[in-house]
Amino acid sequence: MSEEMKKECKIFDDPKNVKRFRIGFYIVCGLLLLPDLFIHKHGDYHWEEWPAFHAAYGFVACVVLVLVAKYILRPIVERKEDYYD
């Protein structure tokens, strides 16, 4: 058992690491927007050529998804675990 414990990877137990990870992630997101300034994207649709179209779409899509699932779908469909028993 002690050997198992030694093997444990605890990298995210340290809040500092979590913070570093998060900041790194925000920087990556920022960097992803840079190419739009330099390259001309050839998409299938003209709106794909708008700067940061995909970034905005992905962000809005996920926020809408979560809000609809939480505030509209869940109140309608949620039942106790033994509902069908």
């Binding site: 997101c29 992803l32 998409g43 794909e48 905005a56 926020v63 699932a69 949620e78």
Partner: protein, 596 residues
């Protein structure tokens, strides 16, 4: 050298011999079957072969072309991987059901006629339901029955369609059909049940999470993909499929966000991925069919990988709800890495497999100017990353520390996951080999700067949304709950039907039973005891109608008296003399009639 062995037979007959082996010999035997099957594939002749006469019909057991071979390759690969994965289970029923199921799926893929297609289609249901029952819990047994009933209904639609199709002069050969007439609609919806179309999808989200650990991995590969295959063969370019597919891609992600059972989250995302394939089949251009087939190929691997990683978690911890899991990366790092690779693949990260297949379907939609469909699919792409790409690894391996410190997955599971993970990355990085076996020549370049940047932005900012919603505490907390879906109709509907039977139908029946088995027979018995007495009472009643007012109470009194002494003698006895007088009068009248 050509082979005349139908690929299905290797697995189906092979399944029967499983109990003859034990231990390592059994493992070796199990591994040999997919390998033999794979070698057999390369020796199959092109076109139709192995034709069998049956009741005046010609059945074609092997019909090969590029489409059927593509599905056959991936089915063999996944059977091989799943056999490795299931080796630690030591459950003969599971092994046999898995092989029977894989074999019948191959039977469908190579069926050249509708009858043998139907035969293997039903056998697939039988094999798969045992993978659910093999779990042995009360829940799994009930889910298995619901699953079987659902598929048998779908099978009956298919059979009815085939019979009408053949009886109205259609060819028995299985090929392009298109929607025209009743028969084709029945077949279309029969296929749709297995394809998990909206409202027909509940067998999947209901039963897959109840199957055995390896059973779910098998299940995720075959039923829906054979359905995509038969649709691609018989209904390509059917516009209805585009909208059905778009609905499939979009609605399950909402359920996946609020679902607690990790394997049920994956079941919903399975429907979402099949939606992309159905859209591809519906568009029906060469590029779209290529995209659908390629996505089926990559999906079998990455979805299998995700189910395997969650199965490994379940195997080690006995838990599968997000509320009970978390922090497992500490002791199961390899499983966590494999899960993340599966998650990256399903999310279509560049260099991972779905990036080279899913985007092909989307480009095909754009080229045919289905703008709304394209926008829905883009939404679904962001959504799938959100619930399958982030939620699955995050809640199982990171998130809050559940305190669980399970051992790393067993070696055989790690090997199976490792092979799948390797294939996900290999196909994503070098799509050439996959493109070379697609049904049509490929003129598609996934790795353009615009594609890569667009996809990375989409995924990066979806992740950003997840992170910010999580930090803000808006992200819905996992909850132990049941979420109602369309299966409410038959799960509660069955209860209502029972209530209706027990209360309404049973009441009506009881009334009829009382009338016909109690009241009427008893009346006849009562009548039979003294018919003349009954007639007298009847006459008395008639007399009341005609009698004058003051006599009525007297007659009523008489009736009461007669009823009281019934069946005793209520007829007034007349003296013999008066009887003789009446007889004499009667004879006299008779005599007079006779003479005149």
């Amino acid at each position: 050298m050509t082979s005349m062995i139908p690929p299905a037979f290797i697995f189906i007959i092979g399944a029967l011999a499983v109990p003859l082996f034990r231990g390592k010999a059994q493992s070796a035997y199990l591994l040999t079957l997919p390998v033999l099957g794979f070698i057999n594939l390369f020796m199959l002749p092109a076109g139709a072969s192995v034709e069998v006469e049956f009741l005046n019909y010609t059945l074609t057991l092997i019909k090969t072309d590029r489409l059927s071979l593509l599905f056959a390759y991936i089915f063999h690969i996944t059977a091989f991987i799943t056999v490795i994965y299931s080796m630690c289970m030591k459950n003969n029923l599971e092994y046999m059901a898995g092989l029977l199921y894989s074999g019948s799926a191959l039977g469908v893929i190579f069926a050249g006629d509708l009858l043998s297609l139907f035969f293997f289609w039903e056998m697939m249901t039988v094999g798969s339901v045992f993978l659910i029952w093999a779990r042995g819990t009360d829940k799994s047994i009930r889910a298995g029955f619901r699953y079987a009933l659902f598929h048998f209904v779908g099978g009956l639609l298919l059979l009815a369609g085939i019979i009408i199709h053949v009886q109205t002069g259609g060819p028995l050969e299985f090929g392009f059909m298109g929607l025209n007439g009743v028969a084709s609609y029945l077949i279309f919806f029969g296929f749709g049940v297995n394809c998990a179309w909206p409202f027909f999808h509940t067998w999947l989200s209901d039963a897959y999470p109840e199957a055995t650990i390896a059973g779910t991995v098998y299940l995720s590969a075959f039923t829906t993909k054979t359905a995509v295959y038969v649709l691609a063969r018989s209904f390509p370019g059917t516009e209805m499929l585009i909208w059905i597919g778009a609905a499939m891609a979009a609605f399950p992600i909402f359920y996946a966000v609020i679902e607690n059972d990790m394997r049920r989250v994956l079941a919903y995302s399975l429907i979402n991925q099949v939606g992309f394939m159905v859209v591809g089949v519906g568009i029906g251009t060469e590029m779209a069919i290529n995209g659908a087939a390629a996505h089926a190929f990559t999906d079998v691997i990455f979805k299998g990988l995700l189910f395997m990683s969650m199965g490994a978690v379940m195997y080690r911890t006995g838990k599968i709800n997000a509320t009970d899991l978390g922090g497992l990366y500490k002791t199961m790092p390899l499983t966590a890495i494999f899960c993340i690779i599966g998650a990256a693949s399903i999310s279509a990260f560049p260099l991972f497999s779905a990036f080279v297949s899913k985007t092909m379907v989307m480009s095909a939609a754009a080229r045919e100017h289905y703008s709304w469909v394209w926008l829905i699919l883009l939404f679904a792409s962001a959504g799938v990353f959100h619930h399958a790409g982030i939620k699955i690894p995050f809640f199982a391996f990171f998130g809050h520390d559940s305190g669980l410190r399970p051992k790393e997955a067993p070696l055989n599971m790690l090997i199976a996951m490792g092979i799948s993970a390797f294939m996900c990355i290999f196909i994503g990085t070098f799509p050439g080999p996959l493109y070379s076996i697609l049904p049509y020549p490929v003129e598609y370049e996934p790795y353009t700067t615009a594609h890569v940047v667009a996809q990375l932005q989409l995924l990066g900012f979806s992740a950003l949304a997840f992170a910010l919603l999580m930090l803000a505490g808006i992200y819905p907390a996992e909850k132990r709950a049941v979420n109602l879906d369309a299966d409410l109709i038959y799960r509660k509907g069955a209860d209502s039907f029972n209530w209706f039977n027990e209360n309404v139908i049973a009441c009506i029946w009881a009334w009829f039973a009382k009338l016909f088995f109690d009241r009427i027979p008893n009346w006849f018995i009562w009548f039979g005891k003294n018919p003349a007495g009954v007639a007298k009472i009847g006459l008395d009643y008639i007399e009341i109608v005609f009698a004058s007012g003051k006599n009525v109470p007297k007659i009523r009194e008489r009736i009461e008296r007669e009823k009281k002494i019934y069946p005793g003698d209520i007829i007034q006895r007349w003296p013999i003399g008066s009887t003789v007088t009446w007889v004499t009068v009667f004879l006299l009248v008779y005599l007079l009639f006779y003479f005149f």
